[in-house]
């Protein structure tokens, strides 16, 4: 599956970053660039992971970087609909409590 990222910004200023494909050492720099763009001047970011079939540590590291970047401006940073496989990697990293997660197994606190 080809890797792709799109950004949709709503009237509230919240951006939805929709990720499609596999997030690894090759593709995570592009995701980070998109997260930085989406966070610039906005109310926050929701990263839609429904289309992500695979994520590795560099992808998780990118999400951590996004969270930290959002924290600097007190912007919202949430993950949406991670697949069971992606959720499994987040659980392996013991970071599910760190992120606000919408859908696919229910919300968690952020």
């Amino acid at each position: 599956m080809t890797f792709d990222v799109s950004i949709e910004r709503g009237t509230s200023g919240l951006a939805v970053v929709r990720v499609l494909g596999e997030v690894d050492l090759d593709t995570s720099p592009r995701l980070l660039g998109n997260l930085q763009d989406a966070l610039r001047g906005g109310a926050g970011v929701v990263v839609d992971l429904a289309g992500v079939g695979y994520i590795d540590s560099s992808g998780v590291a990118t999400l951590i970087q996004g969270l930290k970047l959002a924290g600097k401006t007190k912007a919202r940073f949430a993950l949406r609909d991670p697949s069971p496989r992606v959720r499994g990697v987040l659980e392996l990293s013991r970071l599910t409590d760190l992120f606000e997660i919408e859908g696919a197994g229910g919300p968690t606190g952020g």
Partner: protein
């Protein structure tokens, strides 16, 4: 059943990690190995470390993956790893330490039963990731 081995070789480039994952996923499916998604992740993380830290003496810059299976063990042998002196740099971080680096090595340690490095000054050494299949089966009972 006798031991079986499968080989793959790709350029040590991030764009080729997907090919390594596809190779491992296909073999693990063929061999009906449980935990295949976690094993693919461990292999991918090891190969990603090679891309990031690969030995500069390897002229062709390739990653060689050998997947060996016996009834007792599953072993990934990954050639083209970093110089022995670089091994201490490739270390896991504590999961409680929330920062981006070191996560991949921590994943490998969580998923595999044994991780070993076999130095080779000429070829940059090999990394071995081992899962004890017999022990895992006993755990399932």
């Amino acid at each position: 059943m006798p031991s079986r081995a499968y080989l793959a070789e790709v350029p040590a480039d991030a764009s080729c990690l997907r090919a390594v994952r596809a190779f491992a996923a296909a073999v693990l499916a063929k061999e009906q190995i449980d935990e295949s998604e976690r094993l693919v992740l461990a292999l991918d993380e090891a190969c990603a470390n090679i891309v990031k830290h690969r030995c500069p003496t390897i002229e062709d810059g390739r990653i060689c993956v050998r997947l060996e299976l016996t009834d007792a063990t599953l072993r990934f042998r990954i050639g083209g790893f970093c110089k022995p002196g670089d091994v201490p740099k490739v270390k896991p971080r504590d999961f409680a330490d929330i920062r981006p680096g070191g996560l991949g090595t921590a994943f490998i340690g969580e998923i595999m039963d044994r991780v070993a490095f076999e130095p080779d000054p000429e070829r940059g050494g090999a990394m071995e990731l081992v899962m004890e299949r017999a022990r895992r089966s006993e755990d399932d009972v």
